[in-house]
């Protein structure tokens, strides 16, 4: 496991992208503390006001400081993006690997369950789960988790199937190595690279999913500032204040680009054709 981690680390572009991602996400996770004004403070007289020294990017429709709302609007989604990806990777990998190792009827039923659940497009299933859990950023994140682990489970299961009957697992079993230890020391190191590729490509998707659900009014609830929801608020003032629309969208786009660049590079480095 450490060998391929070192290989990843040696790749200069990958390292740079990794630091850029940490920097950008770290900045917007902490940015709420940098807000010059209270992002929730309403000034009816300053509705859609032009930039001023006190409000550097002007005010939104309710006269709230737009810069402060922009700075505060990313931390929730970004935090939950990381949380979701880590949670689904852990959950999906654990269940998928276990199913493959246990085998028999449990594996069969588990895989049929995955088949059925994955035969519904992700968005529809997520909507059902939002209806189950309720509106709000935390509950939406839970809804996304409850749907997204399926893909990880299927991938982990498929990877384990590839080497389940191969020598080293059988030998370990015959040598008296316990089930838990086989899972953590023999199977996990072989599954993890696949899962890490999946994870880095998923950050952008999950951020988009969260912002989409917020935009639809299912995620972050007003007056909490959140980029996705700010877009739907700004839509009504398309003509008079296009910045309300351009800025939050750009920040989402910016993070997705950074995530995707990292994911693409990682896949290039870990590409099996280059021999890992």
């Amino acid at each position: 496991m450490s060998i391929w981690l070192i290989r990843l680390w040696r790749d200069m572009p990958l390292r740079t992208l990794f630091f850029l991602n940490v920097l950008a996400a770290g900045f917007f996770l902490l940015a709420p503390f940098l807000a010059p004004n209270d992002p929730l403070e309403v000034h009816a007289d300053l509705a859609l006001a032009a930039p001023s020294t006190l409000y550097p990017l002007g005010n939104d429709a309710l006269g709230r400081c737009f810069l402060s709302r922009l700075l505060a609007g990313g931390s929730g989604s970004l935090f939950f993006t990381f949380f979701i990806v880590l949670a689904v990777a852990f959950l999906g990998m654990g269940l998928g690997m276990t199913a493959a190792l246990v085998g028999g009827r449990i594996e069969f039923l588990f895989m049929r369950f995955l088949d059925v659940a994955l035969s519904v497009p992700t968005m529809a299933l997520t909507l059902v789960m939002v209806a189950v859990f309720g509106n709000g950023l935390t509950t939406t994140a839970l809804a996304i988790i409850s749907v997204s682990w399926l893909v990880y489970a299927r991938t982990s299961h498929a990877v384990v199937l590839g080497f389940r009957e191969s020598g080293f697992v059988q030998q370990a079993r015959m040598g008296g190595v316990g089930r838990g230890r086989i899972l953590s020391h023999y199977v996990l190191p072989n599954v993890l690279p696949h899962i890490i590729i999946l994870m880095t490509q998923d950050f952008g998707d999950k951020l988009l999913m969260l912002s989409t659900l917020s935009l639809l009014g299912l995620g972050a609830q007003p007056p909490t500032p959140e980029w996705g929801f700010m877009l739907s608020e700004g839509k009504a003032y398309l003509e008079r204040a296009p910045l309300l629309l351009i800025a939050p969208g750009f920040l989402i786009f910016f993070h997705v680009v950074l995530f995707n660049l990292l994911g693409d590079r990682l896949q290039d480095v870990l590409d099996p054709k280059r021999g890992i």
Binding site: P121, V128, L218, L238, P242, L245, I252
Partner: protein
């Protein structure tokens, strides 16, 4: 071939049945119920008796398996119940809204095929030129672009600034253009990349090289020999992407006020309108399954090698 299609179709029945069971039980086990949610939304309180009475009226007081039985019994007869929200028949709502969503998804799909394929072929013909790099950049941009933001920007550019196209609503063809483009950009970007790498993979095989050595032009090789071989696997992928396409219609429908099934589904989530949501999930599973089946069958039409595995299946 025909018996294979029939078998695949028959396999779709238990899948849709299990999907309906899964979503029904998930929804009805949810901690919040539609009646309480209605009063929360209205901002009023109702007495316990009123809530219990209304629940009984909707049949929500019975055990969940019994409710599912009733639902299933009428659903197989084409009756999907009435919306909790406006008491219209769910089947009627679906029938009215479905054509709009299907038009949107189909339009985006056709746009994807007719734009992404020629672009990918151009990229392959002019590999490692400015055109190729430009298309790769477009592909990366398009897959990172949030659909909703793209939609809003297009709306701003063409509706507000240039005043060329209507911003909202559904009606004549001009209403159709922006939503359709918004929905397809992501898919076009993805499939320029996939078509490109699929074509390059085939081109690197021996038969491509030998044709080139015998003096055939690159364009002719690509069109007549490479394309049929590369098409089948990409077609199967395209079938799988239809799920995302159908899911993506929700955002586009909301942004552009398009009267489709996605906006209905969103309303149903907010109102805990179980019958509508249930019908929506079923439609999605069915459409996704049928789209995949169609893609697989088409692929095996194009590539005879795939028919052998069908016979084995």
């Amino acid at each position: 071939m025909l018996s294979y299609a029939a078998r695949r179709l028959a396999f779709l029945v238990p899948v849709v049945f299990l999907v309906s069971m899964l979503s029904f039980f998930l929804l009805h086990l949810a901690p919040s119920d539609p009646v309480t949610m209605k009063y929360v939304r209205l901002g009023t309180t109702a007495s316990q008796e009123t809530i219990v009475a209304e629940k009984r009226e909707l049949g929500l007081d019975r055990s969940i398996p019994a409710q599912y039985g009733t639902w299933l019994f009428s659903a197989v007869q084409g009756d999907f119940g009435k919306s909790y929200n406006n008491h219209q028949s769910v089947a009627g709502i679906m029938a009215k809204r479905l054509p709009n969503t299907i038009a949107l998804a189909l339009g985006a799909l056709l746009l994807t095929i007719f734009i992404a394929l020629p672009l990918a072929m151009a990229a392959v013909l002019h590999q490692n030129t400015a055109l190729d790099y430009g298309l790769r950049l477009f592909s990366f941009w398009g897959t990172s672009m949030p659909t909703f933001w793209l939609g809003l920007l297009l709306m701003y550019a063409f509706g507000v600034r240039l005043r060329l196209l209507p911003v909202m609503g559904s009606g004549d063809f001009s209403h159709f253009i922006l939503p359709c483009i918004t929905l397809s950009v992501w898919l076009i970007a993805l499939y320029v990349r996939r078509f490109r790498s699929g074509l390059l993979l085939e081109l690197s095989k021996a038969y491509g090289k030998s044709l080139a050595m015998r003096g055939y032009g690159r364009g002719r090789i690509l069109l007549r020999h490479i394309l049929p071989n590369a098409a089948a696997p990409i077609l199967v992928l395209l079938g799988l992407s239809i799920g995302d396409l159908l899911g993506g219609t929700i955002v586009v429908e909301i942004i552009f006020g398009w009267q489709g099934i996605g906006s209905i589904a969103l309303e149903a989530v907010q109102n805990r309108d179980y019958p509508v949501l249930q019908a929506y999930v079923l439609w999605m599973a069915l459409a996704y399954g049928l789209a995949n089946l169609a893609a697989d069958l088409l692929a095996s039409r194009i590539d005879p090698r795939l028919r052998r595995t069908e016979r084995a299946a």
